[in-house]
Structure formats: structure tokens, C-alpha cells
């Protein structure tokens, strides 16, 4: 029997995709771990060696963030110094998405001019081009600023490479402990001791302008809260009530300090101290321990830890009249030390996760919790000012070190730290 004439026609029509069946592909999550980038050594158009390897610092910054994968210099086919010299086809062949080029030049006044450009290999488009002057001592900071700009241009988030971290370093034998309040660059370099004491130093907190630190010191024998201006070293005792004076936290405008005080009744509660007037206002009055206050970015609420429900959990208290604390965390038996993300949407907390203390991100509205770290004793989370990372203290080889985890949990890094025990990191705000 012969095939009907319409059979091939039918089969043919079957093979033709329907008009409404246009291929639509859902891209749900970027799997690429990092952005490949080439930071070409900057040109130096003067005799002698360049005073500073800007490209090396930029490369280290971007690589350390975990979000970039710098191309080793040895693999570069050419070393252009401006965007016009970038042959995007070559860089694409090297699987590089972005190329950073630049030039360092001496200025007549003895300073230097740092010029750099960012080129997108896919399109050849010049995404950045800037020139910044810097004296010799500021070339490192200038390099961090270049990293910030590149980071922001590519990722859409302001880089935090030029920010600083404060932490407490402890060293010496138990009989002769030395406590130091240290401020370092965000990469751990350039450590400077802000305050030193044989008595414990606790809970450093940055002022919103990044110029001062509040902290608890026992150097007088009793705990007291101090505010110290970093540039001058000038130190002011702001809270030395009887009993516990602890856990200072600056209000977003820097005019107030939230504190945990026990005062005379021995009951630790949250207070707000207005720095200029020394006026003290009690926020909570509960037989349980209320401590570790942290302001929301809008300054209208304070998160704090309380064991009023039997175990430490995070609460939020609106600062309006008559507002009452509202419990935020419900997942897990232990959630403490809340720190509010720069956008106010998340809290970094210490959570008890399967027998280990770890850093978690809590949705401020829904209270849902996402464990970010995997240590045994992770403590003291502090947000990077861009909200991309959280720095925290952890233990490694029996000693306290600092680590950084991306807010999405994807990237973890250890921070190079000097000898001794390192605790209670606090990430500075952006410099103003």
C-alpha cells in the first residue's frame, strides 16, 4: 500500500517547531565562582623602578575578595598601559572578562599621578578611566581605591578595600596578658595599636564617621565604656556606672550610644546614652539579661540579645513611645550578638548550629536563618560597609583568628593576622 501523500507533509510539519515554542531559557543562578580579570602592571614613565606596585595590590584585593580571579602576570600576552592598547581578542582568548591597565607618573611636586582604565573584553568598552594623585605614602590606599572602583563598576557593589578593621589582640602568658586594640587596613595590613592594656579590652565599635572607636576597657579595674578618637588618640570615658558597662553601639548619626548596663540593681538592660548631654535613657526593664544592642540604619530601632525566653534570642525594640520588644529569631536554641546589615534587611548573628557556634544571616522581617560559616566557635560577626561580607572571629589551630564570609555564603577567606589571639573584629564604615 502506498503511503498517503500527506504523510511526509505531516511529518514535516511535526518537525517544524511551533511559533510559540521559541526557545526560552531560564538562567536561575550564576555558577561562575569568580570573574576572570587581568590587572596589567602599570606603566612607569620615569627612570628607575616604580615607587609602588599598584597592580599587585589591586590584584591581591580583587583576588582576596573571592569574587575575582586575576590572571597571573606570567600568562599575559601583552602589557598595554591604556585602553587603546588593549586587544580584546587576545584577552578573550585568555578567557579574561575584564582588563585593568594604567600608568603611574611622577608629578613635579614630588607626588604621583595614578591613571587607570577598565576595559570589558567582551565588548571592548572602556568602563572606567580615572586619574588620582597620591603622595608616596598614600599609594597603597590609592591602590585600594582603584580596587574599590573596579569592584563597584563590575559587581554593582561598592568595594570595601579601602576600609579598615578594628579588633582586639591578646598575647603573652596568662600571668602577663597584654590586650591591644588594633586598627588595620581591610586586608589586615598596616596594623596600628589604638589602645593597650594589661586588662581586658572588649567590644570595639566604630563611630559612623569612622573616626572614633567605642570600646569597653577594664584598665581601671572596673569595666567602663570609652570613646577614642583614632587620629588623636584622645580617649573619653562615657559610661562607668556601677556594675556592668558593656557592648556599646553607635546610633547611625553618631550622637548616641546604646549600652548594656546593670547599674545598681544588677539587672542588665539596654540603655541609650546621648553623648553630648550624657543623658541616659533606659530602654528595657526585664529580669532577664538584655545585651549587645545594635541600631538599625534608620536609627528607629535597636536589636539586642535577651534570654528572657530562657535562652539567648534576638529581639527588636522600636524606639518610639510605648513600643515593646518583639522577638525576631525562633530558629535554634541560641541566637545572639545581632549586627544589622547596611541595608537593614539582615542580621548577622551567632547561632548554635548542631552543637557548634556559627555565624548566620537572619532575615530581619521574616526571622528565617541561614548559616554562613562552618567553624566550631565562630563569634563576633561584623558587616563590611558594603554588605557583601561579614568578618568574624574563629579558631584555627587552637588560636583566635579573623575570617571573612560572603553574605551569600559562597566565599570564605582567612585574614592574615599577627601572632597571638585575635578577637572581636569590627569592620569600619566607608571613609567619608
Amino acid at each position: 500500500m502506498r503511503r498517503p501523500w500527506w504523510l511526509p507533509l505531516l511529518l514535516f510539519t511535526l518537525a517544524i517547531p511551533r511559533a510559540d515554542a521559541q526557545l526560552t531559557v531560564q538562567i536561575l543562578r550564576g555558577m561562575a565562582e569568580s570573574v576572570p580579570i587581568a590587572v596589567v602592571p602599570l606603566g612607569w614613565d620615569a627612570p628607575g623602578a616604580a615607587p609602588y606596585d599598584v597592580a599587585a595590590t589591586v590584584e591581591a584585593d580583587l583576588g582576596r575578595s573571592g569574587r575575582f580571579r586575576p590572571l597571573p602576570r606570567g600568562q599575559m600576552l601583552e602589557l598595554p598601559h591604556d585602553a587603546a592598547g588593549v586587544d580584546v581578542a587576545d584577552w578573550r582568548m585568555l578567557k579574561v572578562d575584564y582588563v585593568v591597565v594604567g600608568q603611574l607618573s611622577p608629578l613635579p611636586d614630588g607626588r604621583f599621578e595614578l591613571r587607570y582604565e577598565l576595559v570589558q573584553a567582551a565588548t571592548g568598552e572602556r568602563l572606567l578611566g580615572a586619574t588620582l594623585p597620591a603622595d608616596r605614602g598614600a599609594l597603597k590606599l590609592a591602590s585600594h581605591r582603584v580596587s574599590d572602583a573596579i569592584y563597584e563598576r563590575i559587581l554593582g557593589v561598592r568595594g570595601a578595600f579601602s576600609t579598615r578593621i578594628a579588633y582586639v589582640a591578646v598575647d603573652g602568658p596568662a600571668s602577663a596578658r597584654g590586650y591591644r586594640l588594633v586598627v588595620a587596613d581591610a586586608d589586615g595590613a598596616n596594623e596600628r595599636v589604638a589602645f593597650e592594656s594589661p586588662q581586658p579590652i572588649l567590644s570595639p565599635a566604630w563611630s559612623p564617621d569612622g573616626r572614633s572607636l567605642a570600646y569597653v576597657s577594664f584598665h581601671s579595674g572596673l569595666p567602663a565604656v570609652y570613646v577614642q578618637t583614632l587620629r588623636t588618640g584622645e580617649r573619653t570615658r562615657v559610661s562607668a556606672y556601677s556594675g556592668i558597662n558593656g557592648a556599646p553601639g553607635f546610633s547611625p548619626d553618631g550622637s548616641q550610644l546604646a549600652l548594656a548596663l546593670s547599674r545598681r540593681d544588677g539587672n542588665v538592660d539596654i540603655y541609650v546614652l546621648t553623648l553630648a548631654s550624657k543623658e541616659l535613657r533606659r530602654l528595657t526593664d526585664d529580669p532577664a539579661i538584655d545585651t549587645e544592642p545594635a541600631w538599625t540604619p534608620d536609627g528607629r530601632s535597636i536589636y539586642f540579645t535577651s534570654d528572657r525566653a530562657g535562652a539567648p534570642q534576638v529581639y527588636r525594640l522600636g524606639l518610639g513611645e510605648g513600643e515593646r520588644p518583639r522577638r525576631i529569631t525562633f530558629e535554634g536554641s541560641y541566637n545572639a550578638r545581632p549586627r544589622v546589615s547596611p541595608d537593614g534587611r539582615e542580621l548577622a548573628v551567632v547561632t548554635l548550629d548542631r552543637g557548634a557556634y556559627r555565624i548566620a544571616a537572619v532575615d530581619a522581617e521574616r526571622g528565617t536563618l541561614r548559616v554562613l560559616t562552618s567553624g566550631r566557635l565562630d563569634e563576633s560577626p561584623s558587616w563590611a560597609p558594603n554588605g557583601a561580607d561579614v568578618i568574624y572571629a574563629t579558631r584555627e589551630g587552637g588560636r583566635g583568628v579573623l575570617a571573612i564570609v560572603a553574605a551569600d555564603g559562597r566565599v570564605q577567606q582567612r585574614l592574615a593576622a599577627s601572632a597571638g589571639e585575635v578577637r572581636e573584629p569590627a569592620w569600619s564604615p566607608f571613609a567619608r
Binding site: 500500500m1 503511503r3 498517503p4 504523510l7 505531516l10 511529518l11 511535526l14 518537525a15 517544524i16 517547531p17 515554542a21 521559541q22 526557545l23 526560552t24 531559557v25 531560564q26 538562567i27 536561575l28 543562578r29 550564576g30 555558577m31 561562575a32 565562582e33 569568580s34 570573574v35 569574587r67 578573550r92 578567557k95 572578562d97 570589558q120 573584553a121 567582551a122 565588548t123 568602563l127 563598576r153 563590575i154 559587581l155 554593582g156 557593589v157 534587611r345 539582615e346 544571616a361 532575615d363 521574616r366 528565617t368 536563618l369 541561614r370 558594603n386 554588605g387 557583601a388 560572603a406 553574605a407 551569600d408
Partner: protein, 263 residues
């Protein structure tokens, strides 16, 4: 009881019987038989007959003999006639029998022929009928077969369509997954993409998968997201080939909707 009687009569009985036997014997002896005299008459008596009488007798004897001969002859003739008649009858009977036989045979033959003819006719008719029936059957069979084949073909086509459709859908899904994985592996999703961000990109490819163009459709993501997508798409070139050439599309729509990472 009798024994008792017998001894009573025995002596007297035996004596009487003996006497009787003796008397009988005596009588027999006296009466012995003598030889019997012949009963036949001697022919001497006939010698006494005269000539005339002898003549008359001779004539009479001849007459008798003639009559006897005549009678014998007649008798013979009659016998012969009878025989003849018998033979004739017999022959006739035989002939009749033969005739009868022949007639019977003829009749039988005729009947046989008739029967044969009828049989032949019947057979012929039967054959004709059978043929007609076969013809009809063949015709219906053909029709049925055609119908069956058509139904079968239709079924096969439907199945083919379904199978092709399903296979098509399967291959298409496979193709989509391949592109998805290919692009996702090359997409660095920038941190801090806002919730609900979504960008549609129309990607133009040529056979071989080389991306020759792209343009953004609706996109509420920021510049970093756009840039990351642009880079991902450029880096994804060449796109993976379709598992079936017919699936190739010059324009593919990529929808970047970052999975919400925050709870």
C-alpha cells in the same frame, strides 16, 4: 407285605405254568407247515386261437403300434413344440430380461447422467456462487483491509506524531538545559542583586552556535547585572548545538532571574 403274599401262592402257580408250557409244545409239533402250489396260468391255452384272430390281432397290434408311434411322434412333436415353446419362452424371457436389463441400464445411465449433469450443474452453480461469494468477500475484505490499513496508518501517524512530539519536547528540554547550564556556568551573578530582579536577553546565534548579537529586553536589574549578563552571553559563545538540527533557533530568549538567595 408282598413277600408275605408270595410264599402263600408259589407252589400252585408254578405247576399251572408248567402244564401250560407242555401243552403248547405238543400243539406246535402237530401243526408243522407243508410246501405251497404255483399260482401262474400256463400259456397252453393261447395255442388254440385262429389266423384271423391272429391277423386282426396283428393289425390291431400294428394299429396300436402306429397309434402308439403316432402318439409317440405327436408326443415328441408336442414335446418338441413344448420344448421349443419353452425355449422360446425362455429366450423371450432372456431377451426380455436382457431388454429389461438394458432398459434398466439405460435408465440407470440416464439417471446417472442426469444426476451427473445435475451434480455438475450444482457444482458449477456452487462454484459460481462460491466464486461470487469469494468475489464479494474479496471485495469486502479489500475494503476492510483498506480501512484497517488506513486506521493502522492513522494510528501509526498519531503515535508518530505523539512520539515525535514527545521526543521533540524532550529534545527541546534537553537543548534548553544544555544552554542553561552552559550560560549559568559562565555567569558570575553579582552580589547584592535585588530580589525580583529579572532580565530578558535576546541572543542571536548562527548555526554552529556562535553568538552574533544580543539585545536586552525587559530588564529591571542594575548595570552590574546587565554587564554580568553581557559577559556571560559573550563568553557562552559558541552556544551548545541542539541535539536535533531542527531545534536550532537563530534567536534564543534568555531570562536571567537569579534564584533568591536570601530567605
Amino acid at each position: 407285605m408282598s413277600a408275605a403274599v408270595r410264599p402263600v401262592i408259589a407252589p400252585a402257580g408254578w405247576s399251572v405254568a408248567l402244564h401250560l408250557v407242555l401243552a403248547g409244545l405238543l400243539f406246535v409239533g402237530l401243526t408243522l407247515p407243508q410246501p405251497e402250489a404255483p399260482l401262474e396260468i400256463l400259456p397252453i391255452d393261447a395255442m388254440v386261437v385262429d389266423q384271423a384272430v391272429i391277423l386282426a390281432a396283428s393289425r390291431q397290434r400294428r394299429e396300436v403300434e402306429r397309434r402308439q408311434a403316432e402318439a409317440r411322434r405327436r408326443e415328441q412333436v408336442e414335446a418338441e413344440a413344448r420344448l421349443e415353446e419353452a425355449e422360446r419362452v425362455e429366450r423371450a424371457e432372456a431377451e426380455r430380461l436382457v431388454e429389461e436389463q438394458r432398459r434398466l441400464e439405460l435408465e440407470q445411465a440416464t439417471q446417472a447422467k442426469a444426476r451427473a449433469d445435475a451434480e455438475a450443474r450444482r457444482k458449477a452453480e456452487q462454484q459460481a456462487q462460491a466464486k461470487a461469494a469469494a468475489e464479494r468477500k474479496r471485495a469486502t475484505d479489500d475494503a476492510r483491509l483498506r480501512a484497517e490499513r488506513e486506521a493502522d496508518l492513522r494510528a501509526r501517524l498519531a503515535e508518530e506524531e505523539q512520539r515525535t512530539g514527545a521526543a521533540f519536547q524532550g529534545l527541546k528540554a534537553q537543548y534548553i538545559r544544555a544552554i542553561q547550564a552552559h550560560v549559568e556556568q559562565r555567569w558570575f551573578e553579582p552580589p547584592g542583586i535585588g530580589q525580583g530582579a529579572s532580565c530578558t536577553v535576546h541572543v542571536m546565534q548562527i548555526p554552529g552556535g556562535e553568538v552574533v548579537g544580543m539585545r536586552f529586553g525587559t530588564c529591571n536589574g542594575g548595570e552590574a547585572m546587565r554587564r554580568s549578563i553581557e559577559t556571560a552571553v559573550r563568553n557562552a559563545s559558541p552556544l551548545p548545538p541542539p541535539p536535533e538540527p531542527g531545534l536550532f533557533e537563530r534567536e534564543i530568549r534568555l531570562v536571567f532571574t537569579p534564584k533568591e538567595q536570601k530567605h
